[in-house]
């Protein structure tokens, strides 16, 4: 817990990443706002991340989710918002912190990885190399929520 408090101290609100605990008296649940990276279909959209910290943190990774049915992305399950990212699973290392985790997820938006799709159709689009379809489909989903 002391590490989490220290981490909280180090987190400054950054230009495009906002990371804060959900309620002030509980550092076990955090939310983060990330903005879509430029030149991606996510540009101009904001996404909310729900982070819950396990007791074993930092020895086990934080659990991070998008809002359900909010994130059309190859490595995100659209229905549940679950994220497939190596560092949130086996590749987690205790030297990572929350900020780095959130930054990695933001990076994931601009660098989708077709090898581990949670969104099968988008994965097919990516593997087919149909970037036009990929982008417009993602845009469709994003616009529809508005």
């Amino acid at each position: 817990m002391s590490r989490l408090i220290k981490e909280y101290k180090t987190i400054n609100a950054q230009d495009d990443i906002l990371l804060f605990p959900e309620t002030a008296d509980n550092l076990n649940n955090w939310t983060a706002m990330i903005t879509g990276p430029p030149n991606t279909p996510y540009e101009g959209h904001d996404f909310k991340l729900y982070i819950s910290i396990p007791d074993a943190y930092p020895n086990s990774p934080p659990m991070v989710k998008f809002h359900r049915e909010a994130m059309p992305h190859v490595n995100v399950n659209y229905e549940t918002g679950e994220i497939c990212l190596d560092i949130l699973k086996g590749e987690w290392s205790p030297v990572y912190n929350l900020l780095y985790t959130v930054q990695s997820i933001e990076r994931l938006l601009s660098e989708p990885n077709a090898d581990s799709p949670l969104n099968l159709e988008l994965g097919i689009l990516m593997r087919e190399g149909d970037k036009t379809a990929y982008d417009s489909l993602v845009r469709y989903y994003l616009q529809r929520q508005k």
């Binding site: 159709e121 149909d130 417009s136 469709y140 529809r144």
Partner: protein, 164 residues
């Protein structure tokens, strides 16, 4: 001693009976209510089926047809256009292609046919409208798992007019 004991036993019996009736009554009422709710849901889906969501694969014949009022079709929130490769859908060339800017996102351009089918599967709309002759390709077998109904039509104009 004996009568009073009997009295107590009968009153206890009445009490049990009352409790049982109340319990059965409540359960029955709850069940009834829930089935009513289901009915309501059914009705709701039925009504929505009238305006069921559509996924339209635009082919050249439809794109070239001046009769289809695309703007009107796209105004429906549940309609998506998929433009397969080698199909032109210019915004400026035809008057009927001009779509409200807030609806442009509903037009999905694809560069590959695999991409088209992936989009269809992803969207999971109720009805898929296409012209397989124009498309020059068969509909994949597993598409039926992703849409409720496939309208394979020769003339798209007639089907699309129904939307109005």
């Amino acid at each position: 001693m004996a009568p009073s004991g009997r009295r107590t036993s009968t009153s206890r019996l009445i009490g049990y009976g009352a409790a049982l009736t109340i319990a059965i009554g409540t359960t029955a009422w709850l069940l009834w209510n829930s089935s009513k709710d289901e009915d309501k849901d059914m009705r709701a889906t039925n009504t929505s089926q009238l305006y069921k969501s559509k996924c339209i694969i635009v082919t050249n014949s439809a794109s070239d047809s001046p009769n289809i009022k695309w703007a009107k079709i796209l105004a429906d929130p549940n309609v998506v256009l998929i433009i397969p490769p080698k199909v032109e859908f210019p915004q400026s060339a035809y008057e009927n292609h001009v779509v409200d800017s807030k609806d442009i996102y509903k037009i999905i351009h694809c560069n590959t046919m695999a991409g088209v089918w992936a989009c269809v599967k992803s969207l999971k709309k109720d009805e898929l409208v296409l012209n397989s002759n124009d498309l020059g390709e068969n509909v994949p077998v597993d598409i039926v798992r992703y849409v409720k109904h496939i309208s394979n039509v020769e003339d798209m104009t007639s089907v699309l007019d129904e939307v109005e």
